[in-house]
C-alpha cells in the first residue's frame, strides 16, 4: 500500500448527458434522456439506439473516423486542465488515455473505397496516426513524460486512471492527465449488434427484463497530482485505490464466479487500506447484458455486501473506452455532492442477481466509493475515489 496521497485537481467530462462535469451531473440527477436512433452513424447502421453527444461538439460535422474520438478527448482535457491550472514549465506531465475507437482500424469508408481499386485520398485512413488521443494531447499541451494510449476494451478508461495513479505515486510524473475517450463508430456498433448483446430499447442494468446494452460516446479526464504538492483549494478529491485482474477464462464471456473482478476489487480495497463497509456506494459496470450483470451481481454480493449500488449506463450508454473514466468522474461528482443518483433504466430486480440498484437519489454519509469495469478478453478493474485524503471515512 502506497503512502503517497494522490489528489484530483481537475476534471472534465462530455457525454450524452451534456458537456462539462457540472451540467452532466445535474442532467444525471434529473434522470437523463432516452437513447436515440443511430442516425449519426449513417444509413447503414443497424437499428439499435445509442446515447450520442450534442452534434455541435463536432465543429464542421463528424468525420466518422478516429478523429471524432480525439475531438471528444480534447473537450474533456480542456475542461480538466483549465480547472487544474497551469503547471510549472519544468513539470513532468504524463498523458494516459484509454480508448478503443481512437486506435482501431475501423476506417470502413476508406477501406471500401480502396478495396474497389481506387487510390483516392481517404481521410479516415490518413488521419489515423494523428488521431491517437494520448499522443495528440501530449503534443497539444507540450507534455514531456510518459504517453500511454491504453486499449483494454471496456476497462481502458479505468486502467488509464489506475496507471496515472501509479505514475504519481512512483514519482515518475509531477502531474498526469488521464482518462478515456470513445466516439460512436459504425464498426463496433455493428459488431455488438451481431454479437446479440445490443438492445433495441433503453438498456436496463440489473433489471429482470434487461435485453442488452446501448452504445454511447463521450470522454472524461482527470488531472492527478501529489496531494502534498497541490494547493488545497484546487483539490476536488482523491484516487485512493486501484485494482486489476484477468479472468483467463473465456475471451468474450466473464468468469462465472467473477474471479478476475473479485481479485480487482480485493486489490483496490487493499491498495486503499479500506474495507467494503467503508464504501458509500459501488458504481457497477452494469452493461445490462445477461452475463455481465449476473456475474457482476455475484461479485458485488460477495465482495461488497450491503454496499448501495448505482448503475449509470441507462443515462450514458456504454461508452466503451471512455466508460471507466466517465464513471470515475461521476462517482467523484456524486461524493462531492453527497448524494448517490438513481439508476436510470432499472425498474424490477432480477431474482437471479438478488440486488437492486438505486431507484431514487440517496444522501451519502461515507466519503469514498468504488467503481467497477469489465471488458472483453477477461479484463477487470476497480477504482476507489474519495473526498477525504487517505480515504479516511
Amino acid at each position: 500500500m502506497s503512502t503517497v496521497s494522490v489528489a484530483v485537481v481537475g476534471m472534465g467530462c462530455v457525454c450524452a448527458l451534456g458537456s462539462g462535469v457540472d451540467p452532466v451531473f445535474a442532467a444525471l440527477r434529473a434522470g437523463g434522456q432516452r437513447p436515440v436512433a443511430p442516425r449519426c452513424l449513417g444509413p447503414d447502421a443497424l437499428p439499435f439506439p445509442v446515447f450520442s453527444v450534442d452534434e455541435a461538439l463536432f465543429v464542421g460535422g463528424r468525420l466518422r473516423s478516429a478523429a471524432d474520438t480525439l475531438t471528444l478527448a480534447r473537450h474533456a482535457a480542456r475542461e480538466a486542465l483549465a480547472q487544474a491550472g497551469h503547471g510549472e514549465t519544468s513539470e513532468r506531465l504524463g498523458v494516459v488515455v484509454g480508448t478503443t475507437a481512437g486506435t482501431s482500424l475501423h476506417f470502413l469508408e476508406g477501406y471500401a473505397t480502396r478495396r474497389s481499386g481506387s487510390t483516392a485520398p481517404c481521410p479516415d485512413i490518413e488521419g489515423l496516426p494523428a488521431a491517437n488521443p494520448a499522443l495528440a494531447l501530449a503534443a497539444q499541451y507540450q507534455a514531456v513524460g510518459p504517453v500511454l494510449t491504453v486499449s483494454n476494451a471496456c476497462t481502458s478508461g479505468a486502467d488509464a486512471i489506475g496507471l496515472g495513479l501509479e505514475l504519481i505515486r512512483q514519482g515518475r510524473c509531477d502531474r498526469v492527465l488521464c482518462g478515456g475517450a470513445d466516439a460512436l463508430s459504425l464498426v463496433p456498433h455493428t459488431g455488438f449488434a451481431r454479437l446479440t448483446v445490443a438492445s433495441a430499447e433503453r438498456c436496463r442494468p440489473f433489471d429482470v427484463a434487461r435485453k442488452g446494452l446501448n452504445l454511447g460516446e463521450g470522454a472524461a479526464m482527470l488531472v492527478l497530482q501529489r496531494a502534498d504538492l497541490a494547493p488545497q483549494q484546487t483539490i476536488l478529491g482523491y484516487v485512493t485505490g486501484y485494482g486489476s485482474g484477468a479472468d483467463a477464462h473465456h475471451f468474450t464471456t466473464p468468469h462465472p464466479q467473477g474471479r478476475g473482478l473479485t481479485a480487482a476489487v480485493d486489490m483496490a480495497l487493499r491498495d486503499a487500506a479500506r474495507t467494503a463497509a467503508d464504501m458509500a456506494f459501488v458504481n457497477v459496470h452494469g452493461t445490462a447484458t445477461h452475463d455481465n450483470d449476473l456475474v457482476e451481481g455475484f461479485v458485488v454480493s460477495t465482495a461488497l455486501p450491503h454496499v448501495p449500488i448505482w448503475a449509470g449506463k441507462g443515462a450514458t450508454g456504454h461508452t466503451l473506452g471512455a466508460a471507466g473514466a466517465i464513471e470515475a468522474v461521476l462517482t467523484l461528482a456524486a461524493l462531492r455532492a453527497g448524494v448517490v443518483p438513481a439508476s436510470p433504466g432499472f425498474v424490477q430486480p432480477d431474482p437471479a442477481i438478488g440486488l437492486s440498484p438505486t431507484q431514487c437519489e440517496h444522501p451519502l454519509t461515507l466519503r469514498q466509493a468504488i467503481s467497477l469495469s469489465l471488458g472483453f478478453g477477461g479484463s477487470n478493474s476497480a477504482l476507489i475515489l474519495s473526498v477525504s485524503e487517505g480515504g479516511r471515512p
Partner: protein, 276 residues
Amino acid sequence: MSVAPFSATKLCVTGVGFAHGFGEATVLAAENLEPLLRDAPPVDVSSLVELLPGVSLRRVPRFARLALLACLRAGAGGDNLPDPARQGIVVGATHVGMSTSCDFMDSILDCGPHLSSPTAFSYAVNNMGTGLLSLFLGVRGPCSTVMSGALSFAAALETAGLLLYGERADVVWVCVVEEGDQRLKDTAPELPVGAEGAVCLAVRRWQRTGRYITLPQWSRPAQPDDVPPLTLRPALAAAVALHKDVSSPVLCTLRTTHAAQHCTVTVGIAHEHAAA
C-alpha cells in the same frame, strides 16, 4: 527551463523471445536491423503446435499467434514462475488485429451489416492479443495493451515498470507485435507498417545483478527524427542487444521519436556482472 529528468530505473530481464521471419539465428547475428524490419518473410508460427500440445489454435488470430510464440520462447508458461495472479502482460503495438479487422470490414461490405461476422469482430478488438495471451498462458494479473505508435515499446516498458514497482505483479511479459496483412498494405499504404514479427521480454524488479533494461527517459528532442516510425524497431534492437555476451556495461542506447509528440525516449541497456 528544461523538464526535470526521469530516473533510469532498471528492470531485470530474465527472458527474451523472438518470432521473426528470418529466424532467431539470423536476427541475433544481424549487424543491420533495417532489412529485418522491412523485408522479412512471414513468420512461421507452426511450432506453436509443439509448444502448446493439445491446445486448439483454430480460431486464434495471427496477431495473437505471433505474440504467443514470442512469449513462449521467452519462458512464459514454463517452470519457476510466480503465481499466475502475480504475472502481468503488456502488449505494445501500433495496430492490433489487422487481419481480423479486415475480415470484419470485408464481411460488412460483402454480406451487409445484418450478416457480418460476429467472430471476426470479437477478435478485432484492440486487446485481443493480451486477452488471448492471458487465456493461453493462464496469466491472471494485470494485463494491458498500449498503442502509442512508434513509442509503443517505450510505453509498454513504462507500464510494466508501474506494475512491478507498484507491487501489482512480480513478472511482466512485455510483448511488442507487428502483424502483416496484405489487404491492409494494399488498402492503407499510408500507414507505416514494417515486416511482421514479435519480441517478448520477461521483466522483473531489479535485483542488483544481471541483464537489465531501463525505464524510458522522456525528453524533448532537439530535432525531428527522420527514421520511419516502425513499432518493432526499438524492441528488436533491445532484444538483440540483450543476447550479446560482452563485458561492457552499456550494450546500446535506443532513441525513439514520434514526430507528432515531439518527444524522445531513451532506453539504456547494459550487462552488469558485479553488484551495483
